[in-house]
């Protein structure tokens, strides 16, 4: 193979990896609004849901960003009255993982006061966008 062809392939591999990284970064932490046809009850997650909203975080033991998301959601729950943060381990809740087709950890579902799933956040949660979503749910 000519040196030029080798360099072209190397550049191609690096470009592919960079594109994948940029796509991942753009998706990571984005809030997606849900249709609102799914409901989670407190017994499903063995916890009490919040009076206004619940941040339901799916985590695993092998997950570095779950820790930072835990901290973000915990402090949001602490600063906002009526908002609860519930963290569940994917290993212990295969039913919910299958039902909501959880494909990455952390994934956070934002539930309203009746436990209806209003939004879904894949990846590390950003405080500002979660705050915005909580405000939207509180206003609805």
């Amino acid at each position: 193979m000519t040196p030029l062809a080798v360099i072209a392939i190397l550049v191609g591999i690096i470009a592919l990896a960079t594109a994948l990284g940029l796509i991942w970064k753009a998706q990571n932490g984005r809030v997606r609004t849900s249709r609102g046809d799914e409901t989670i009850r407190g017994v499903d997650v063995a916890a009490e849901l919040g009076a206004t909203a619940t941040l339901l975080q799916f985590s695993s033991e092998v997950c570095a960003p779950c820790v930072s998301t835990h901290r973000v959601l915990d402090s949001l729950a602490a600063e906002t009255a009526g908002v609860a943060h519930v963290e569940v381990d994917i290993v212990k809740h295969p039913d919910l993982v299958a039902r909501f087709n959880i494909l990455q950890t952390p994934t956070t579902l934002v539930l309203d006061n009746r436990g209806v799933v209003r939004a879904r956040i894949g990846g590390a949660a950003r405080p500002d966008s979660v705050r915005q979503e909580l405000a939207r749910i509180a206003a609805a």
Binding site: T18, W24, E61, C63, A64, V67, A84, H85, E87, P94
Partner: protein
């Protein structure tokens, strides 16, 4: 108000957290070595059919993509590409089985890089990066076994996958191990038991 089903999944008591920049630094070194290996293999390794015929056969016959199979197993083991990939397999095994904290890159990071940086904003649980080393170990080991078995392009393919994973980890902080762990749990291959022992 906050209720967690279990305490935070952060560093467990009695377990020392790692500076998250350490594993990313190590992944950067791994990515550079892998890229060098890919470049070498594409330029002059029989697994990609790019070595000149006279290197392999005395009569100077044209060497096709299957030229790797013309070599004996012993000759394939002694190829420079095999030795470099074996070194990477060994380094991944070190991180996976001895733990990320004992990996030589971690020591290099502590000695050379960390003194030049500010303190880390947080320490991370060593389990995810250790698991990620295991993923790297499996990918490179499969490539190594197939390469020695004479499968053309196995080395370049495995090295490319490993490079993309190491690059994403180092540059973007993406955790492929986290993703694969979830998929293994969903497939029923890993469960609660292994989650504890991993």
């Amino acid at each position: 108000m906050s209720t967690a089903e279990k305490p935070t999944l952060a560093v467990k008591p009695g377990q020392k957290g790692v500076d998250p920049r350490g594993p990313r630094f190590g992944a950067g070194i791994t990515a550079v070595i892998l890229l060098g290996l890919i470049a070498y293999a594409l330029s002059r390794d029989p697994s990609t059919g790019t070595t000149t015929g006279s290197d392999l056969t005395p009569d100077g016959a044209d060497v096709t993509w299957s030229s790797l199979s013309l070599l004996s197993v012993g000759e394939r083991v002694a190829l420079p590409s095999t030795l470099v990939l074996a070194l990477l397999v060994a380094l991944f095994a070190w991180g996976a089985f001895a733990g990320i904290q004992r990996h030589p890159y971690g020591l290099l990071f502590k000695a050379l890089v960390r003194p030049r940086l500010g303190p880390p904003s947080e320490l991370e649980d060593p389990v995810p990066p250790t698991f990620a080393q295991g993923i790297g170990f499996v990918i490179t080991l499969v490539g190594l076994v197939l390469h020695v078995a004479g499968v053309p392009f196995a080395l370049v393919t495995a090295a490319s996958f490993a490079f993309i994973a190491a690059f994403l980890n180092s540059v973007f902080g993406y955790c492929l191990g986290c993703q694969i762990y979830l998929l293994l749990v969903r497939a029923g291959i890993l469960g609660r038991k292994s989650a504890v022992t991993q």
